[in-house]
């Protein structure tokens, strides 16, 4: 995969279905260093103006406040933002910061 070769720690891929739902799959470990790259990856997908956004976090191994900021900024742009399949430690972070409810967990 191209990602492994260019040494990035985290990236985002998106799928827009016919119902206007954008599913963004976040992979890797998002921290202050890798957050910008993930943000850039997400831009073209978000620019397609989906009706709802779903974050699939099953490939996400770790996320700190920069990852939370990403999710929150997306949530502020699109009314309905959901988070699915978080790993236990990621879920814990979301719960600890009081955002679990906001993202439908």
């Amino acid at each position: 995969m191209a990602r492994i070769e260019d040494g990035r720690l985290a990236w985002a891929e998106g799928v827009l279905d016919d119902a206007g739902t954008l599913t963004i799959v976040l992979s890797g470990e998002i921290d202050i260093a890798s957050a910008d790259g993930v943000k850039r990856d997400m831009q073209p997908f978000l620019g397609a103006a989906p009706d709802r956004v779903v974050f699939d976090l099953q490939k996400l191994a770790f996320m700190d406040s920069s990852g939370i900021a990403l999710l929150v900024q997306t949530a502020n742009r699109f009314e309905a933002v959901e988070v699915r399949n978080p790993a236990p430690n990621v879920r814990r972070i979301l719960e600890a910061t009081g955002l679990a409810e906001k993202f439908g967990l």
Binding site: I32, A69, V72, N76, R92, G98, L99
Partner: protein, 565 residues
């Protein structure tokens, strides 16, 4: 970074502002004078010397080899000449000996002699005159003569001695003499025999100009020659030559061939290079090419040396740049840490009946500062408000957001707002979409006498409480972090009996990348409980020591309060 901030450290400001141009830092090598000039051209000089030595060596070698070769070939040709001459001698010797044999056989018959002589003299003969002599006793007697008149008076003593000699020696006699019409060679030969002994004397003229050209393909064709009668090469003995300038000097070969009782000495020299013109040119070719190659090599060496110098200079400059960079980097980090320290309260208010301990550890990532903070406000009368917060991200913008939140929350606290109100009002001031940051914040307002604390939580980790009977993380109402959206926050009151300890902290203390959050929380609980007997300061120090990971990118802030009454 603004130079303004550097006022505290004058030395550093001077360094940052008056940046030294790099080129002044080291003097160029060329300016160091003559010794430097040699050093800077040393390699080229060596190459030049080597090139010249090699060239001279090649030139000398090829010249010497060429010389030797020419000499060797000349000697060979000379020997060929000698062989040719030696082969020609019988043409003189044999007919004369035949004449002697005939005389011996016919006992000196004149008629037979005349017959014999007629073939030897005249236009087709090789002699100008021939005469027959008989040895009688000790005397020689002329028997007959033919051909032109002999140039040597036949009766003369000189002639007689020549004839007598011929009778004595085994080979033929050769003399040269000047006659009336030029120089002549005289030959006299005899043969041993039982009866009367006879001798033949013959004369042959030498060409007046001593010139004799040679056939094109003969052994002489590549050579100039001079033939002398005798062993020495003086003009008087010269028989024949084909050049004007005598004696022959320079490269020559001398061949001696026995000629009767005399010697023919031939000196030859080459007309043109025997080994061919090309080999003569080798020394010149080597010289020219050698010089050209040497020049090219010197030029290339100079270029390479210059390029290497340039690379070395560039390397030195680069190293200097890196050093400067490291210094500036270090300075920037110092500035950042200074700023950070300045933003955190240095002196905490002392509240009677309350023991307070705080600790802050900056994260170890590079130069960017973090956004953790704590603050404690004394409202008098044993009432206080504490705040602990963590702004997302790092760097100056996180730090300034932190500063704004810190001061804003303090102002609201001093104004008498409840913890929930403080959070709501702060949340209105921060917008993650605009500022790029949000902050988790825990606010607690406490009353020492009433043993009460009211907590409000915006996305922050719950504080740890040890109160005599139980110990555990206080379950607060966790709202969204400040800056996310304008939601309301709830409050949770807790009672804190005497000797209770409440520890608030930021996630840098308990979060490790490879671990779950709960593992870190358990670790904290264990460390805190282990220290319940210690002073608050010791407890906080020990907690930090035990929980501090090897490499913590995140800041750690911890604030603990203990009810002493």
């Amino acid at each position: 970074m603004g130079v303004v901030l550097v006022n505290r450290d004058r030395g550093a400001s001077r360094h940052v502002v008056d940046a030294q141009p790099i080129s002044d830092a080291q003097p160029s090598e060329d300016s160091r004078g003559e010794a430097g000039a040699f050093r800077s051209h040393g390699a080229a000089l060596v190459v030049l010397a080597v090139g010249l030595v090699i060239t001279i060596g090649l030139v000398w070698t090829s010249w010497t080899l060429n010389n030797h070769n020419e000499l060797r070939l000349l000697n060979l040709q000379g020997q060929q000449v000698g062989t040719v001459l030696a082969a020609a001698i019988p043409s003189t010797q044999t007919p004369l000996e035949l004449g002697v044999e005939l005389a011996q056989a016919t006992n000196g018959d004149v008629g037979r002699f005349d017959q014999f002589a007629s073939s030897q003299v005249g236009p087709h003969g090789s002699f100008s005159s021939v005469s027959l002599w008989r040895l009688s006793g000790a005397d020689v007697q002329l028997v007959a003569s033919a051909g032109a008149s002999p140039q040597r008076t036949l009766g003369s003593a000189g002639t007689r001695s020549v004839i007598a000699r011929a009778f004595r020696i085994t080979t033929f006699v050769v003399t040269e003499f000047k006659g009336a019409r030029g120089n002549y060679l005289g030959f006299a030969t005899s043969l041993p025999g039982a009866g009367d002994r006879f001798a033949i004397y013959a004369e042959r003229p030498l060409p007046a100009d001593k010139r004799a050209s040679v056939a094109k393909n003969s052994a002489f064709s590549d050579l100039n020659y001079a033939i002398y009668l005798g062993r020495s090469v003086d003009q008087a003995s010269l028989l024949a030559t084909d050049i004007d300038q005598l004696p022959i000097d320079g490269r020559r070969a001398t061949v001696r061939v026995p000629f009767g009782d005399n010697t023919l000495t031939t000196v030859v020299t080459a007309r043109s290079p025997l080994a061919g013109a090309v080999t003569t040119w080798f020394p010149w070719i080597f010289a020219v090419f050698g010089v050209l190659l040497t020049i090219a090599a010197v030029w290339i060496t100079e270029r390479l040396v210059r390029r290497r110098r340039g690379a070395e200079r560039a390397e030195v400059e680069t190293r200097h740049l890196y050093d400067r960079l490291e210094t500036l980097y270090g300075q920037q980090r110092t500035i950042a840490e200074t700023l950070q320290k300045a933003l955190l309260p240095q002196v905490l208010p002392s509240i009677p009946g309350l023991e307070v301990a705080v600790q802050y550890l900056p994260g170890s990532t590079g130069v960017d500062i973090g956004g953790d903070w704590y603050s404690l406000v004394d409202l008098g009368d044993g009432r206080f408000v504490f705040v602990i917060g963590d702004v997302s991200g790092r760097g100056l913008s996180a730090a300034s957001t932190m500063a704004a939140l810190q001061f804003t929350s303090r102002a609201y606290a001093m104004d008498g707002n409840s913890p929930a109100e403080i959070l709501e009002k702060c949340s209105k001031q921060l917008d993650v979409d605009v500022d790029g940051h949000f902050a988790t914040v825990l606010v607690g307002s406490g009353d020492v006498k009433r043993h009460e604390v009211v907590l409000a939580n915006a996305g922050h980790l719950n504080p740890f409480l040890i109160d005599g009977e139980h110990a555990g993380f206080v379950p607060t109402q966790v709202g969204v972090p400040v800056g996310i959206s304008g939601e309301r926050y709830g409050s949770v009151p807790i009672s804190v009996p005497r000797d209770s300890t409440l520890i608030a902290f930021t996630d840098g203390l308990v979060e490790r990348r490879k671990e779950s959050l709960d593992t870190g929380l358990k670790r904290l609980a264990g460390a805190a409980l282990a220290q319940r007997g210690s002073s608050l300061n010791d407890m906080v120090s020990q907690i930090v020591i035990e929980l501090e990971g090897d490499v913590s990118e995140d800041d750690i802030a911890i604030l603990a309060v203990r009810w002493n009454e």
